[in-house]
Amino acid sequence: MDDDTILNEVATRVVPMICAFGMYIIFNGHLSPGGGFAGGTVIGVAMILFSLVFGLRALFAMVPEQLLILMISLGPAWYALTGFVGLIRGANFLANGNAGIGLGSPGAMASSGIIPVITLGVGISVAITVTVLFVILTEAD
């Protein structure tokens, strides 16, 4: 598969763009339609395209397989650790406005307190899940 020039060139240019679009969806989750689940799926699809075109070996050259499996727990851990901010500030677990976190002006990029942070956690979780499921199901044959 690695002597197909058109496929290689197109994938080389398209995969970074899909990743950037996924990051855009994730970081604008509190401003526009989308959010962690949608953006994480887009990034996972970019990883699937990358490993279909260049092979699983190229994916493991970027991220070793053991590290990829360890990263399954990164998203939930990020989300849960963000929840402790509310506890530290004397409110409920995962509290946002009640914990006295500044909500900013609506519509600004840095607004609505911890929501963008936990959106990033959800996005990481979904992207890693899609990638790992593809890798495992491909390897199982």
Partner: protein
């Protein structure tokens, strides 16, 4: 007992579940009718969602602020699903014959 009789036996069970469900559905308020018993959550979200969460996207405001616990457990569902597929399909242990990779001595 033949399978046909078993199928007839399941009919009272289906009726036992279906009839209360239809009765509940008949008791529900008409769609769009402003019934204060059922709609106060929606009104709260529409009126004060922006000022309480700061998110312009009201869906994100609901699922990541009002319903943040629910979304956290959703990511945990993704996590445990991946772990399940990993346990069932990861090669290596499979090659040695048993799921745990060890042979049981009878």
């Amino acid at each position: 007992m033949r399978p046909r009789h078993l199928a007839l036996l399941s009919l009272p069970l289906v009726l036992l579940i279906a009839v209360p469900l239809f009765l509940i559905a008949a008791d529900m308020p008409t769609y769009g009718e402003m019934n204060p018993t059922f709609n106060y959550v929606v009104e709260r979200y529409n009126e004060r969602g922006l000022s309480e969460t700061g998110a312009v996207n009201i869906v994100t405001g609901i699922i990541l602020d009002y319903r943040a616990y629910d979304t956290m457990i959703e990511t945990t569902v993704l996590f445990s699903g991946t772990i399940g597929v990993l346990l069932a399909l990861k090669t290596g242990a499979r090659r040695r014959g048993t799921l745990s990779g060890r042979r049981h001595n009878p």
